[in-house]
């Protein structure tokens, strides 16, 4: 895409093919800490959007409060940096009233799962056609280092000097339980894979939830190193692929099979994989398999857990409006008159 931009950049209203990642960069200075995982995610989003064939004025980015929520300021699209936790509500209002917009929500583990948890689950269950990216760094960054609802139990932070005593939430499991129609996970350091996941997220019609493991270099550096660091990733993470057996490891010599209701890891000769390996089905009607994968601690699955199709909220809402309009024309005077009226004649005739 980068090579094409010079031909078209003098044509402001040109077609979508004219767009490059540069068109999606605003003139505002990006103010995240040097080395923050957010930079890579921003760059990936700016790379994916021009490939979708949608002009940039049809995008809107909505966020709440937190480091990740600065995201809209750096996108040269429409944007709304709102208040803590409420981005899904604002995004719902935008999508339902202006369905031609592609609406993205950028949130974090505190914004999306703590103060805004209620809005997150309801936006997902309603199948609002919005793409929610939850940057999970397992810490509060903007308020300088308190534990979050995804912090691992026992974690020592500024607000938990003796370690946290509350069980963390599993974001993917929450999204699945909320009946999101698209649920995925990716890591901020594996950009080609993140790019694939975001492209699929962008193309999905309905509620999208993508958890992105994101490193906070200042307050929680290395939070995902045990699974996502380059040297261990292939052994500790499982890339999900629809219709494919669940195989991982640098040598493709490990897989997942079911033992009763529990998934277990089996090792094998890569030339002769066992026949009873679990096969991924992201389109299953039930979210049972996806839930099982969501709770798997090793390897940690990434990719698309679930991708099912059902009507989005705005489609159902607009269908009812069309139906009501067909049934009764909008006659305002008739509406004001109501079911029963009476006339008062001019005075003197009483």
């Amino acid at each position: 895409m980068g090579d094409m931009k010079n031909e078209f950049e003098t044509l402001p209203a040109a077609g979508p093919m004219a767009q490059s990642s540069k068109d999606f960069k605003s003139d505002q200075m990006v103010r995240w800490c040097p080395g923050c995982g957010d930079f890579a995610i921003l760059a990936t989003v700016q790379k994916v959007l021009p490939t979708l064939g949608i002009p940039r004025e049809k995008f809107v980015f909505v966020s709440g409060i937190g480091c990740s929520s600065r995201f809209p300021y750096y996108m040269n699209t429409f944007g709304f940096h709102s208040i803590h936790g409420r981005a899904p509500t604002i995004a719902t209002g935008i999508k339902c009233t202006n369905p031609e917009m592609q609406v993205w929500v950028v949130t974090g583990d505190g914004d999306g799962l703590s103060i805004g948890g209620n809005h997150l689950i309801h936006a997902l269950r309603r199948n609002v056609d919005i793409k929610i990216l939850l940057f999970n760094n397992r810490i509060y960054g903007l308020t300088k280092g308190q534990y979050s609802p995804t912090s691992e139990i026992g974690k020592k932070t500024k607000s938990s000097p003796m370690g946290t005593i509350d069980i963390p939430l599993n974001p993917v499991a929450v999204a699945l339980a909320s009946e999101a129609s698209f649920v995925a996970r990716a890591v901020d350091t594996d950009l080609p894979f993140l790019s694939d996941v975001l492209t699929r997220a962008a193309r999905h019609q309905g509620s999208v939830f993508v958890e992105i493991f994101q490193n906070c270099i200042v307050f929680n550096d290395g939070a995902f190193d045990s699974m996502a660091a380059k040297e261990v990733r292939e052994e500790k993470m499982l890339k999900l692929a629809h219709g494919q057996p669940m195989i991982f490891g640098a040598k493709k010599d490990k897989g997942i099979r079911l033992n009763g209701l529990e998934p277990e890891v089996v090792s094998f000769d890569p030339a002769k994989p066992p026949k009873d390996l679990l096969v991924h089905d992201e389109r299953a009607n039930s979210s049972t398999l996806a839930q099982l994968l969501a709770h798997m601690a090793e390897p940690v699955p990434e990719g698309v857990f679930r991708d099912v199709s059902r009507p989005a909220l705005h489609e159902l809402m607009h269908a009812q409006i069309r139906q009501a309009k067909a049934a009764a024309p909008a006659d305002l005077q008739k509406l004001l008159n109501g079911p029963e009226t009476w006339s008062v004649e001019a005075e003197g005739t009483l």
Binding site: T92, S343, V344
Partner: protein, 621 residues
């Protein structure tokens, strides 16, 4: 209605002309009291009287049968002259059980008429109502005229052989009672007979039974001669035109729909159910053919959040609630102020604080609307004066929101919301026109570059190429709208936001004053107390007292001429259903020694309460 059986009994008993009457129906929640009251109201309106109603229902959906907690009431005042309130005290109380009698008897005028359903005065019901002895027998009701009617038995007799179960028969007794009241006030029954036919059109048996109960009650009064004579209230001299009955909540909803239809800006309502505002959500959700989109959100915050999103995307956005809901929405209101998005927040006030008195009325959220936010956060505040005025103020709130690009608070209250009055239906072609301001050309567009007339910023809708912009809750740089932490810019923006809201004063018409522009006492009211204050002032003026009144519908900004008006009077009295909230504002802004007249009982002012207090202030002069 050609059937001879449907005609009201041709009375041979004498008729007494009276000017006005106040009737209260009271009974168990399940007795059909609200329905009976609404039928009496419709018939009374058709008869040409002016009227005002006040339903008063319990907070519980189905409180234990026969208890005081379960008593539901409906009061109506009707008259051959102007009526502004549902009346202070009933002339006639219809009590369907001992609890209804006990809960209401204290308010009945001395010498008033009390009709009780004596079938229900058994030991069990008396005990549930807290009566140790039967009040029909112990002489405690000697100050009123009691008419004991065996409503249950008479209804059963009338409907015998119609194939109804005992429960179905019992349910018709409210129509027997209504038939009696129609006889007493010489009302035609056609409207109610027609309503019954339409309501039960799927079940001919119920149509026949309820119509028969209505006739039976009517005939019973004539043949049993229990009242001796009946009353006639002549038509009132009402402004000519086409009328309907309307409650405040209905009028509010229709005001919103009309504002949307006239401006061409589609409506979005984000709401969460709450008493007494839910009826606005119900009403608006019926009007999808007007492109009204209603969204029942997961909570109050999501409700306003969705509305802010809809406003950003170009809709006429609303959120409707009551005081506790406003408390939850507070942070989001600040966001709408900061982002300068049009939004109407309806607060149908109820008794507070906290859950308070959900079904009762109060005016204690004025300071919340004016000041209840972090930071310097000005929001225009409007208040409706009567049920019908809710239409005009809902419309005006939308107009101001769009013209000035600002959230607007609209205050009504439980009394206005559920009360009804005859409403002169507006002519749609005469509603004030308004709409979106044109956008500046792409090259000149800057998000916070304001219209000098209104100080409003442009409102470019998402999707428009060349108008891409980012907004949010962080302080904005003047003109560009970029994030700015510059100290001078912050002060400039705070002052600009305040100046914009103050500009709205240019749209406020000259304040109407009831009475002379100079005198001893000026009453200043706002909101649902209009009827009581105005009636009291009428009475005081008739008695030759030097009293005038003004009623505010704009509370922020206040009308520009208010200070001069107050200067014409020796004393300013501010009646409010709170501890003196408007009073505080007036004293602070104008440095006037105004005094309050306050009531915090969850009930509206009685006319006499205001009259007495003003009389006292005048020292009998």
């Amino acid at each position: 209605m050609n059937d001879a059986k449907t005609k009201a009994v041709q009375s041979t008993l004498p008729i007494e002309e009276i000017e006005s009457a106040v009737i209260r129906f009271a009974g168990d929640s399940g007795d059909g009291i609200q329905l009976t009251g609404m039928q009496f109201t419709t018939t009374t309106a058709f008869a040409g009287n002016d009227l005002s109603t006040f339903p008063d229902f319990p907070a519980e959906i189905r409180a234990p049968v026969g208890t005081i907690a379960g008593v539901s009431g409906f009061q109506i005042q009707f008259s051959s002259h102007e009526v502004l309130t549902p009346g202070d005290a009933p002339d006639v109380l219809v009590a369907m059980n001992p609890a209804a009698l006990k809960a209401n008897i204290k308010e009945v005028n001395n010498g008033g008429l009390v009709i009780v359903n004596s079938d229900t005065f058994n030991a069990a019901n008396l005990k549930k109502a807290g009566y140790e002895k039967n009040p029909l027998e112990d002489g405690s009701l000697s100050h009123v005229r009691v008419i004991a009617v065996e409503l249950g038995r008479l209804t059963r007799n009338a409907l015998e052989g119609m194939g109804l179960s005992a429960t179905e028969t019992e349910r018709c007794k409210n129509f027997f009672a209504l038939g009696m009241m129609y006889w007493l006030y010489d009302r035609p029954m056609e409207a109610t007979l027609g309503w019954i036919a339409a309501k039960f059109k799927k079940n001919a048996k119920f149509v026949a039974a309820n119509q028969k109960a209505l006739h039976a009650g009517n005939a019973y009064c004539e043949t049993a001669e229990i009242f001796g004579h009946h009353y006639r209230v002549r038509k009132a001299p009402i402004k000519p035109g086409v009328y309907r009955n309307i409650t405040g909540n209905e009028a509010t909803a229709l005001g919103f729909v009309s504002a949307s239809a006239v401006s061409g800006i589609p409506l979005w309502l984000g709401s969460y159910p709450i008493t007494p505002a839910s009826d606005v959500l119900h009403e608006l959700s019926k009007h999808k053919n007007f492109e009204v989109k209603t969204f029942q959100a997961e909570d109050e915050i999501a409700a306003i959040g969705s509305a802010i999103g809809a406003a950003f995307a170009g809709h006429l956005a609303l959120t409707t609630t009551s005081g506790p809901g406003v408390a939850l929405k507070t942070e989001a209101v600040g966001l709408a102020v900061m982002t300068e998005l049009p939004l109407v927040i309806l607060n149908v006030q109820r008794g507070g604080p906290s859950t308070g008195l959900p079904t009762k009325t109060e005016q204690a959220d004025l300071l919340q609307a004016l000041y209840g936010r972090n930071g310097e956060c000005p929001v225009p505040v409007l208040a409706a004066a009567t049920p019908g005025d809710c239409f005009a103020m809902a419309y005006e709130a939308c107009r101001i929101a769009i013209k000035y690009m600002t959230p607007v608070f609209l205050l009504t209250d439980g009394y206005l919301a559920n009360g009804s009055e005859p409403w002169l239906i507006p002519d749609v072609s005469k509603l004030p026109r308004f709409g979106r301001s044109p956008l500046p050309p792409v090259g000149e567009f800057q998000l916070y570059k304001r219209d000098p007339e209104t100080l409003a910023r442009p409102w470019p809708l998402p999707g428009l190429a060349g108008y891409e912009h980012r907004i949010g809750g962080i302080e904005k740089q003047d003109i560009t709208g970029n994030i700015s932490y510059d100290p001078d810019n912050h002060e400039r923006m705070v002052r600009l936001r305040a100046a914009k809201v103050n500009k709205i004063a240019q749209d406020i018409p000259p304040t109407e004053i009831l009475g002379n522009k100079q005198g001893k006492v000026l009453l200043i009211g706002w909101g649902g107390t209009y009827g009581s204050i105005t009636s009291a002032v009428h009475n005081l003026q008739k008695a030759g007292k030097s009293v005038s009144s003004v009623h505010l519908r704009h509370l922020n900004p206040l009308p520009p001429d208010l200070g001069d008006l107050m200067a014409g009077f020796e004393q300013v009295i501010v009646p409010e259903l709170n501890m003196g909230q408007l009073l505080k504002v007036l004293r602070a802004k104008y440095l006037v020694p105004a005094v309050g007249l306050n009531k915090i009982k969850g009930q509206p002012f009685k006319v006499a309460e205001i009259q007495t207090a003003v009389d006292a202030a005048l020292g009998g002069k």
